[in-house]
Symmetry: C2
Amino acid sequence: MHIDPVNILKDHDLKHTKQRVRVLEEIALDTVAISQPELEKKLGKEIDRVTLYRILNTYEDKGILHRIMDMNGTANYAICSSSCTEHHHHDEHVHFNCSNCQKIYCLDVKIPNIKMPPGFTASSINTTAYGICEKCSAGMKAD
Amino acid sequence: MHIDPVNILKDHDLKHTKQRVRVLEEIALDTVAISQPELEKKLGKEIDRVTLYRILNTYEDKGILHRIMDMNGTANYAICSSSCTEHHHHDEHVHFNCSNCQKIYCLDVKIPNIKMPPGFTASSINTTAYGICEKCSAGMKAD
DNA sequence: AATAACAATGCAATAAAATTGCATTTACTA
DNA sequence: TAGTAAATGCAATTTTATTGCATTGTTATT
């Protein structure tokens, strides 16, 4: 799947601006989620801090990005699967948060069904595993 | 199970101070997790903001409290089960975050085993469901 | 292509949340 | 009960997030 920022914007009735395109490009670069502070570092010279906040928020609202909170309460963003809509996110896959490099992976593993106790109605669910990722466990052997 | 702050402190080699006792008392009041801002509101007159931060941190380090991040990146705290130690938390139960009252419940539901992809080694896992809790769904009928 | 309408951006100011250093107070030990 | 070390409170600072408004840029229409 190839990401085309311009089409994504069109599909969601968002105006085409260079800042919005840049944000999507940057996030599409890697398959892992990128944190808000990292984005800020990378795009800080091109895009105002406040604008970045606003772009990320509208992308989340529109179902273009999904937001994953890490252990420290930092927001991380990844591109949504095509099934996400403005009204409901379908990021029901397991996340993996590496405690070494802090990266958050969207794993190709579905969240198992979990039965809620009487009275509790779940509309969405998130599970994230913490540990050492692929790259770090390879790298740690080498170093 | 009855919570005795004084014994908890002793068991973990922590000095007995009235601030530490108050924090534990406050958290033990309810079975649901309480957010850092709520604690601050409740204890703000008795305990300095900074002290509260420090107490919560040491409690987490010692395995007395576990911290659950909600959707907004706000820290919530609940008393750990007895099996938690200084070196490893065992809060491997499902959390439920009510989108109405924002409360976080520690459900008596174990997280199912999830097989990680090759190269990924998980040392802990967290799953939280979002939706409407028991009390809110009852209350919403009434109101 | 020009322009009108409106949305997005950047900047400045403000607010909120978290952290640090240090003087004072408090708890535990001998 | 005196000494020691740790915990607390306060002030200052830093970091993160939010708001208002003037300016710029995008799109639809002619």
